[in-house]
């Protein structure tokens, strides 16, 4: 618990690690915007190629990126299915008549049983589930066994497939890009970069330096507070609280027994920290010099130019085509 990694930064080499965090943040925004503008297949495939190139050139472990995509797959699947069912523009691609007969239903049940008993042996559970779902629908539509007691239709239109594809790809590109950013940038550098990128907001009286200070102190205190939580859990466990078991209500009570002391301790800590900071001449809003300085290199200019070119390219193709 002590050496918890925050922000999923993984130390490594490669040009992405040496880049200025500001470049990475701005490029991220530009490339994300490009991903949203893309509306044709060639451009999308080029974008996917670009992402692959980025991952290879940046020497990034592809499995880490995939694990970043993992929580997203339910959303992606849901969006895609939603598109298939409700988007009715363009040509009709699939027009299935669903044949509900006792035998068909029996077959689907068999398929579900098969899924249920084999799923624990399969590595990609969610994809297995999707495949089963598609298989069941295909069976009901194409294998007509015995007399049907009811029929239904399943129509899939061209636009549903394309829109669904674009939405899924866009989301995947966005998540991959941000994963690449957090994988290759230390939280402190990210914070510094964000502060610098957001500094124009000072015009609107948003105090970016203080926001950065808050983030940096939070980062510093996460391990300390986790340590504290551990201690409290041990203390509570020694008095008979069992954190691993219990019903929902009992779980809530356990969390409360952890949260209340955590809050009190955090407030006490922050009070003392504020005193220590003030005693060391910290005055909120006053100018400070900086130990850490960001350095802009040639690679940064290049990266920014590439991202800008990408955005202008997709915008022009969209306008022209």
């Amino acid at each position: 618990m002590k050496n918890i990694v925050i922000g999923r930064f993984v130390p490594g080499k490669g040009f992405l690690y040496r880049m200025d965090p500001r470049t990475k943040i701005i490029s991220l925004v530009l490339l994300m915007a490009s991903a949203f503008v893309i509306r044709n297949f060639t451009a999308m495939f080029m974008a996917i190629g670009f992402m692959a190139l980025l991952l290879v050139a940046g020497r990034i472990n592809i499995f880490r990126v995939l694990s970043g995509l993992r929580p997203l797959m339910y959303l992606l699947a849901f969006t895609f299915i939603f598109q298939l069912l409700f988007n009715t523009q363009g040509d009709l691609v699939v027009a299935w008549t669903l044949h509900y007969s006792p035998l068909n239903i029996l077959m689907v049940t068999a398929l579900v049983m098969l899924w249920f008993f084999t799923k624990r042996h399969v590595k990609f559970k969610f994809f297995f589930f999707l495949a089963t779902l598609v298989g069941a629908v295909a069976l009901v539509a194409n294998l007509r066994l015995g007399p049907a007691f009811a029929t239904g239709t399943l129509d899939i239109y061209e636009s549903a497939l394309t829109t669904g594809f674009f939405i899924v790809m866009r989301l995947m590109i966005i998540v991959t890009l941000s994963t690449v950013l957090t994988l290759t940038t230390k939280p402190t550098d990210l914070n510094l970069g964000l502060e610098s990128v957001m500094s124009p907001l000072k015009v609107f009286r948003i105090r970016t330096e203080e926001m950065a200070m808050i983030i940096s102190i939070s980062l510093r205190y996460i391990p300390t507070l986790l340590d504290e939580a551990n201690k409290i859990m041990l203390a509570q466990a020694s008095r008979g609280v069992d954190f691993s078991e219990g019903k929902f209500k009992a779980k809530i009570m356990q969390i409360v027994s952890l949260l209340v002391p955590m809050f009190i301790i955090s407030f006490k800590r922050s009070d003392e920290l504020a005193n220590a900071m003030e005693a060391r001449s910290f005055v909120p809003g006053q100018p400070r010099t900086r130990l850490h300085q960001l350095t802009w290199g040639l690679a940064d200019t290049a990266a920014l130019v590439v991202s800008l070119l990408a955005l202008t390219a997709v915008i022009t193709t969209r306008v022209v085509m």
Binding site: P223, T224, N275, R280, S281, F282, R290, L291
Partner: protein
């Protein structure tokens, strides 16, 4: 030369329950004074008043001939540094280097000089090999040394140690104490706030606080032997001196034994 003048200062959080009452205290430049008192004696409040974290309800505080007020408090903080009790709650930076830099950044020290000073003072507290380490990888004593380096780097004339050793193990405590000694030898005015009798041996002078009042303000040797004052403020006399007192009560008066016991207590 007077560096701190506390004149008739009183403080309370809630009216009717004074924390400090009519405190008068002067500290000379280069002196090492120990403020001795039990929990709730007001000793930590006194240190907070000195750097303007709290404002006295009555009386004046002058630091290096400047009266502490809302306008001068920032200048005065450049002259006094405090090392607090809990090493974890004063560690601002993400790494040791960042933490030593924090005060310097506040003082707007130019970056080049900042890097030099960090290097210099990290070496002084023997933490130069830990500059890139994060606080949760350090021991309490190491964190406290970083806190000291952070104050030293600001090059203040006065350093207050507010129970700075009370959360450390004996080894960590001894390191911090010898560091205080070294600093004092170099001319830094040291104010050590503690409830530990042994620590008070090191200083030139002891101020005993009880319930917000100064009970005694005298040289270390006089206060340590003053069993009445110590008893009143529920502090325990050092063992060799207790033995001496018991011997005196039995009329065993031997000059050799007396000087030996004194020596024993003063060497800790």
């Amino acid at each position: 030369m007077r560096i701190i003048e506390i004149d008739n200062v009183s403080f309370h959080y809630k009216a009717g329950t004074p924390v400090l009452e009519n405190v008068n205290l002067n500290v000379d430049k280069g002196e090492w004074i120990t403020i001795l008192g039990h929990n709730g004696s007001g000793k930590s409040t006194l240190s907070k008043l000195l750097v303007g974290l709290l404002r006295a309800k009555q009386g004046t505080i002058r630091v290096a001939n400047v009266e502490l007020s809302e306008t001068t408090v920032y200048d005065i903080r450049k002259k006094i540094g405090i090392v607090f009790q809990n090493p974890d709650n004063q560690f601002v930076g993400v790494t040791v280097r960042d933490d030593i830099a924090f005060g310097l950044e506040n003082l707007q020290v130019p970056r080049g000089e900042m890097i030099e000073r960090i290097e210099q003072y990290a070496q002084k507290v023997d933490m130069a090999d830990f500059l890139n380490k994060e606080p949760h990888n350090l021991s309490g004593g190491q964190k406290q040394r970083v806190a000291i380096a952070g104050i030293l780097a600001m090059e203040t004339d006065i350093i207050i140690f507010d129970e700075a050793t009370s959360m450390l193990d004996p080894k960590g405590r001894n390191t911090i104490l010898s560091m205080m000694k070294q600093l004092n030898d170099e001319g830094v005015t040291v104010i050590n706030i503690t409830h530990d009798m042994k620590e008070s041996l090191y200083g030139d002078r002891i101020v005993v606080l009880k319930e917000g009042r100064i009970l005694k303000d005298d040289t270390t040797k006089v206060v340590l032997a003053d069993h009445k004052t110590l008893e009143k403020s529920s502090l325990e006399m050092l063992l060799p001196l207790r033995v001496l007192r018991a011997l005196e009560a039995k009329k065993v008066d031997n000059e050799k034994v007396r000087s030996y016991l004194w020596q024993l207590s003063l060497t800790g």
